[in-house]
Symmetry: C2
Subunit: 282 residues, 2 copies
Amino acid sequence: METFFSFLQRRVDDCSSLLCVGLDPHISDLKEPTAASALTFCLTLIQQTSRYAAAFKPNAAFFESFGAAGWDALKQVIEAIQNESNRLGSLIPVILDAKRGDISSTAEAYAKSAFETLGAHCITLSPYLGKDSIDPFLNDPEKGVFLLCKTSNAGSGDLQDLIVTIDDRPQTMINGQSSAVYLYEHVAKLAQKWNVKNNIGLVVGATHLEAMQRIRQAAPDLWFLAPGVGAQGAEIESVLRAGLRSDRSGVLIPVSRGISRAENPAQAAAKLRDEILAARNL
Amino acid sequence: METFFSFLQRRVDDCSSLLCVGLDPHISDLKEPTAASALTFCLTLIQQTSRYAAAFKPNAAFFESFGAAGWDALKQVIEAIQNESNRLGSLIPVILDAKRGDISSTAEAYAKSAFETLGAHCITLSPYLGKDSIDPFLNDPEKGVFLLCKTSNAGSGDLQDLIVTIDDRPQTMINGQSSAVYLYEHVAKLAQKWNVKNNIGLVVGATHLEAMQRIRQAAPDLWFLAPGVGAQGAEIESVLRAGLRSDRSGVLIPVSRGISRAENPAQAAAKLRDEILAARNL
């Protein structure tokens, strides 16, 4: 059965890359503070980097801030990626970075918005509202989600690092040693359990390597989307060492400004692809 | 100093109401599945209910699912509420129900989108990413947020009801009795602490009254947005008994379909306003 992650794996194999090119049209990076300029910025970046992209990740916020015109630009960006996929003869999945999270008919409307109106293949979601807030996004196995698990920011510890009590115990025994279960670890275990259609992955910040190792133990099968390389200082080799699955796949490394602000974005993407490939083969 | 919640309290006093009218243009309730029809639906509802509304709460998802045209409709809905406020001579705050949650420049873009591009006064947010994901929405005290704390859905327990360890203890002592701290309770305590500008409130499902009581203890000063009355079966009197602050205010009761699907929405809103007023004075 085809699923979102079987599509992603095929693209990873086609382009020998785990690089996910982020499309973040920050106003400060645009020629003019307009949706048209955001569109041009993204279309140029797509053309320059598609050969090296295992996936593209447009960030909804930067389009939303332009209102209706921004929403139109976002739709055109996703169409352009589909055209580029057709040209290359290899489907490049589009992960809409939107971090939505709501319930019942509202969640259904968000799923419709992302997958039907916009045509994205995958969306990032918050897990805070629980399983029934995720379900409406999982119906079609060819559409996927990345659930926030352990995020790359400093404040991620406020909730995600809390020690939780599972089965009436705040501690669990691993290899005879007592070990706490963090909230992020519990989210990883839930996601591993919920992933019956192979369309759930996790957002795991590349800035927290110990957490990433624990999450890999808790969710041996899941794909990670691991932001933090570049601007936030995480190193590719360390991230892959902590996060890769036993099949040497399963980690997608999103980079935005590290590519878009480079003098030559195509070259920057090629270099990142090669660095990732080298580290993956270590 | 004027803050979001001082505006809200003034409106509550002006209209003697704690009713928040939800604007959820479900496709199944529209004459046609178009943004134009969603706009008409909302404009009619605003005219019919504004006298009884302490606040309006448009739900972003139902607009987003129409793409750019839906985004335009949402902006016009918010403008219509502002016009209605001017007509009544009493500002009716607009709470954008969007449940966003992201970090740094992305959070700034979402704040810009909600408060500047759309002109909303308040937004619902997820707390999962921690304090630094909330901060960009708090800069202007006249703009507010409601943080998800304990939501009304069945799956809310998956994360929110986990017992967390605070100060190395999974239990705390209250009045000499041992008591667990739930994740939602910890979120409430954090929000109470973070609320230095009087612009943070909490989403507390009206379907979980025991949780609501605990949250009121943890956050004695904060406003609650308490969904679950009507369709989900919560009763106004019980909700206010569990949630009101010592000043008999501090709970906003959102109702959507209970008003929009009534034969006479104006009458339904008036009746809800009166029921809430009666229960508040008990």
